[in-house]
Each structure stands twice: as structure tokens, then as C-alpha cells.
Symmetry: C2
Subunit: 350 residues, 2 copies
DNA sequence: TTGAAAGCGTTACCAT
DNA sequence: ATGGTAACGCTTTCAA
């Protein structure tokens, strides 16, 4: 910029004015400046600019794994809102490791992102963010609540959704229903297990710990668990799977071990091709795009950019005035019956 | 930092030394500084630091749509390499719109990212990046080559992969094979169509333009196209679909229109659950993780960070010494027979 | 309309 | 071992 000023024979500020389209520059002068810019291949350095102006026009997004279809849709929704508001997005996957989540979050803060959207890793605590929030960084927790920190949160109605899904199986005659969840350290996994138990209790079905399998979704471990379940004196006639990855692995394990003998199944999370499988898979669907959009819009409002949120399209759940207290938004889930959840128990299993 | 220096009664540079763990500070002094940092809640501003040091330790990734399972896996792979090298990643989806691709790319450059990984949008040209490259920004094009710009590129062997897939159908007796592709403006779509034609030509099968459908993958349009194909005097007995979205839509349309009468099908791109559908779907699989990893590693080498690339794990295709000229890496595809591609033509269709 | 100087938060260089 | 000063590339403030 200095070079441009010299080449055009004008002051630094004049170049700045031209570059930023500010008024107060004569056309001939502006023309000279523009041609110097062209000549020298000058490109404005936004980092420097933002350092001076104190804003970075960027946000950070920390999720579990961008390759997971659920989070990739969340990411896209966040990007969309950000793009509409001229915010750039740093992204990173924590891989469910607290230290990685923290590392990413702190790295983004060190770059002085204006806001952070975080999907907490299993077992992570978030005291580390308190100084950042105190320093003015806005943070919205997505999919799972913060631990040890009061902060805005956007979640799905996990417990209620799970309850509905399991109740659906019960309504179709099942009484031996297994729950295949993720590690209970993960908030969503725990909540969905609670919903599972709620449904059993409401139907007066005793709770059998042998039917609850809470473990990280790896295909071999899941296949082993399914074999153990099948070997029970009273094996389950239906499965409730607690997330998309678990559902996928369970379906694959079942297809390998017992082809042609479909167990009833309701999965938490919708997934591509659920409708094309045989039988089509009944799911409790979340709305990942809405989760991402809502979190991003909430963040914008916290950043005082409420104007960036189109009121016509804004999520009604955050349409109300925002106070100083953290907000907790819980988005509804939707039961999508497709076939696998409507399979009756085999005769003779009462 | 100024405040910290004053509070600790030391100079600015001493604080800087402590913060960065540089040697040359007495332990008692360092202790005073650290306690002042604690007290004041000081957090280093990396943006300012990087402005001064001239590096930004960040790269930009522009893809078509992070919600697409193909690109989300690419993204994760890029993130992984970046994280190992302490690089932060800006991401953005172009939504196949050249102006968005350009906007994102330029925004990243204005923040002075050190490198750029770009999946070109359909119809985009890349002359706009020439000044950036001249200014020292490294760029690697991913999945599709740059247009109007000589630059490093990492692609799949699209034409050869498509040829193999269609040849597979021919080997199973098909002679009327439709090609459902994306808009021909997209390099991969065009290349795969060429591969389709190559296979037909090699088998001495005449080329029928009516069997080539090149259009943006929307479900209704695809269903209509399939109906038109079915109404031909000699309808196709097999389908070659040119990407994961097209495959998904085609399968859905077929399931709705002609349930129980599966057409033979080979799809380009693998996708989750391809193995669990009935019939399981034969695909020409790309390796999106490897595409992303290879592009990121190539970028690192261009940034002179070859040490960040683990030589034991580095992709052999970029293991060779890098010269000044742009490199073009073409990764192999893999035919995965699963059932849908091995269905013979119905009797009487010769 | 224009520009000089100060400052954003940091590091580099050179003294002390 | 420690610190002052300049500089990174820009914007802001204020004066001309």
C-alpha cells in the first residue's frame, strides 16, 4: 500500500480510501491510484486491516467429525449463514478427543475469532473457555451442552425423541427391546438411553441391563454385542440404535449374521438411503441443517449482528429477545416410519 | 501485552519471551510475568503475531458442498494433514457457483492464507488466481483441473474408471447402456462420459446420443429422464451413473417407478450403504480421503514444509522431487462388484 | 479533497 | 539477562 501511494504520488490514506470505496477522492486521483494498484498487483491484506479495526470477521467451528454425514450437514448450514454475513469459517474435527477440541478452540480464539460453535467431545470440560468468553468471544454449543460452563446451547430433543422411537416399537408389540448406544459419556447417548428407559417404564416393561449396550460404535464390537444379545435366554425382538453410525454398523452386522431375518429396528438419526434399504429403516430424525443454522443465527445475535438474521427465516425458537442469560434451544425430532420399525415380534415371543 | 509488561514491571520483549518460551529470561522474572498474565487474563493475539512474522499458518479449502459425503471425507483428510502441521483451515462451499468459488478463494487470499485447495465450480475459470500465485500463495486443484491457469492438480482417473465400469456391464452382456451424468461443464462429468464412450467403442457398440443424459442431478429431472429412456424403442438394459448424487437419485427413482425390476447399474463413486441395498450396488470407487490427503501433502511441499509430510505415509505419487512445473497426480479408481453391475440383460434383448 | 502521524498487538534487531 | 525501538500493513484521527 505504501508502494502504491508512492507510485501514484498520493498519501497513504488516499490509497486506503480508494481501496475501500470511501468517498472524498477526486476521480482523477482515484484513477491514478487504481492504475498503480493494477501495475503493482497490490492486494489488500485483510488480516492487517482487521487487526487495526479490532474485528476478524471470522468464526470457528469445532465438530466431532466433518466426514460424518450428520456433522457435514451441520457444517454446511453454518457456512451458509456465515457466508451471508461475510464471516469466514475456520473448521476442525475433534475426533471425539477432548484435547483436540480444546486445542482447536483455543487456536481459533488465539486468532481472535468473533465466535465459536462447538460440539463438545466426549468427556470434555469447558472451563478453559471461561476467559475467552470473558474477553468477549461468543460461543454456542451445538448438539451437546457445555460442561462446567454456562453458555448458549442448541440441541435436539434427544430424550423425548428416543422415548417416541422406543414407544413406537412397543406399540407394535415388542417387549424385549435392546438399546445400542454410544459411550454414555456422550450427552446425547446418555439422554437417548434415558428416553429408552422412559418408554419401557411408561409401558410397564421391566428394565433389563443386559439389553443395554453402550459402547463406541465399531463394527466388530457391535457384531459381538449382537451375537451376545441373540444368545440370551430371551433375546430381543427389536433394536433401538442410538445414532447414525451405530445404526449403520448394526444393519451391516445383522445383514452378515442373519440375512433374511430382519429384526425390528428404530434408529436415532436419519441417514441417506434409509428409505431404500430392505426393509426401509424407521428413524427418529433430527434436523442437522436446522441445528447448524439455529446455532449460527444465535451466534450472530450474540455478536450484535441480529440484522444478519433474516427475521422471516429465523428459527422461531430464537426469535424472542435475547437476554444476558445463556439460552438453551431444543429442536424437535420427527419419527419417520418406513418399515423396519413396524415389523411385529415373531409369534411365540408374546 | 503492554499491560502485562507494566504489571510485571518488565519490558515488552521480556513478556514476549516468556509467552513464546524463548530462552534468556531468569526464572524469578518469568514467574512474575506469568503471574501477571494470569491476573490480567492475557491471551496472545496470533493474528497480530502472524502479521508481524509474515506467516498466517492457515490454508483455505474451497469445495463444492461439504454436505456431500464425497467432499466431507475430502475435507476431513485435509483437516487431518493441516492439524498435524499446525495449520488452521478456512473452509467454504461454492455450491457449484463460479462467483462463490471466486469470492471464497479471494477472501481467503485477502486473509493471506499460505495455500489454497480448490475444487473448481462448474464453468469457473481461474485466471483470477494468477496474481495470488505470483504473490506466493500456493494452490492445489482437487478433483477437477484449473481452467486458464497452470497449477498443481490432484484428480481421480475418471475416464479410465468410467471405461472400466462400463466395460464391466458390457462383459455381462449389455449392449444398450445409458449414461446418466452431471452437466458436461463439470470436468469429471465430461471425462466419465468419455470413458463411457471409450468402453462402447472398444466393444464395437454404436454410440446412441439418446442414451446419454447429462444434467444437474435433481430427482424429478432424473426420474423424467429414466421414463424417457424406458419408453425408447430399444430401452437400455443397464445404467452407468456418473456420480454419487446421480446414483442415489436414480436408485430412488427406479425404486419408485419400477419396484422389483432392477436394472443393471454401475455407479461412479462409492457411497455408504451401497453394500446393503438390494441388490447391492456395484461401483467405481474413488478414494476421497486419499484425494484430500494427497492434495494437502502436495500443498505442504509447495509451502516448503516437506518435513510435515511423513515420508513413510506420503503418497507415492508425490514422493518424487518437486520441480517448478505444476504437478498433475491421477489417483486410480477401483471397481467394486456387488451385484447390481452383474445383473444380466433380460432374455430377448440380445 | 488530501495527508501526516499515531496506533492495533506482536516480533526482530540491536543495545544495554 | 533485559529492554527500547522499529516495523508488519492497515485504519483512525485530526489537521491542512
Amino acid at each position: 500500500m505504501k508502494d502504491v501511494a508512492r507510485a501514484a504520488g498520493v498519501g497513504l490514506k488516499t490509497v486506503s480510501r480508494v481501496v475501500n470505496g470511501e468517498p472524498g477522492v477526486n476521480e482523477p486521483t482515484a484513477r491514478r491510484v487504481r492504475s498503480a494498484i493494477e501495475q503493482l498487483g497490490y492486494r489488500r491484506n485483510d488480516s492487517a486491516r482487521l487487526l487495526r479495526s479490532g474485528q476478524t470477521a471470522s468464526i470457528g467451528l469445532v465438530i466431532e467429525d466433518v466426514a460424518d454425514p450428520f456433522y457435514s450437514v451441520v457444517t454446511r448450514a453454518v457456512e451458509e449463514v456465515a457466508a451471508r454475513n461475510d464471516l469466514l469459517v475456520f473448521t476442525g474435527s475433534s475426533d471425539e478427543r477432548p484435547e483436540r477440541e480444546r486445542r482447536l478452540g483455543m487456536a481459533f480464539c488465539a486468532r481472535r475469532v468473533e465466535g465459536l460453535i462447538i460440539v463438545p467431545a466426549a468427556g470434555a470440560r469447558h472451563e478453559y473457555l471461561a476467559p475467552e468468553l470473558a474477553a468477549g468471544v461468543a460461543a454456542v454449543f451445538l448438539d451437546r451442552p457445555a460442561v462446567g460452563l454456562a453458555a448458549d446451547t442448541v440441541l435436539s430433543a434427544n430424550r423425548e425423541g428416543a422415548r417416541t422411537g422406543v414407544a413406537h416399537l412397543i406399540a407394535h408389540g415388542h417387549r424385549r427391546i435392546a438399546c445400542l448406544g454410544d459411550v454414555a459419556e456422550i450427552h446425547t447417548a446418555e439422554q437417548r438411553r434415558q428416553g429408552y428407559r422412559d418408554a419401557l417404564a411408561a409401558a410397564g416393561i421391566g428394565h433389563d441391563p443386559a439389553l443395554e449396550v453402550m459402547q463406541a460404535p465399531r463394527i466388530e464390537a457391535l457384531a459381538a454385542a449382537l451375537r451376545r444379545l441373540a444368545a440370551l435366554p430371551e433375546p430381543p425382538t427389536a433394536l433401538f440404535t442410538g445414532n447414525n453410525v451405530t445404526t449403520a454398523h448394526a444393519l451391516r452386522a445383522l445383514a452378515a449374521d442373519a440375512p433374511g431375518h430382519p429384526l425390528a429396528l428404530v434408529g436415532f438419526d436419519d441417514f441417506p438411503f434409509a428409505d431404500l434399504l430392505t426393509p426401509a429403516v424407521t428413524v427418529v430424525a433430527q434436523d442437522p441443517a436446522r441445528l447448524g443454522r439455529t446455532a449460527a443465527e444465535l451466534l450472530l445475535r450474540r455478536l450484535g449482528r441480529a440484522d444478519g438474521v433474516d427475521p422471516a427465516q429465523a428459527d422461531p425458537l430464537i426469535a424472542a429477545e435475547l437476554g444476558a442469560d445463556p439460552v438453551r434451544v431444543e429442536l424437535p425430532t420427527r419419527l419417520v416410519p418406513r418399515g423396519s420399525g413396524e415389523i411385529p415380534p415373531p409369534p411365540g415371543t408374546r
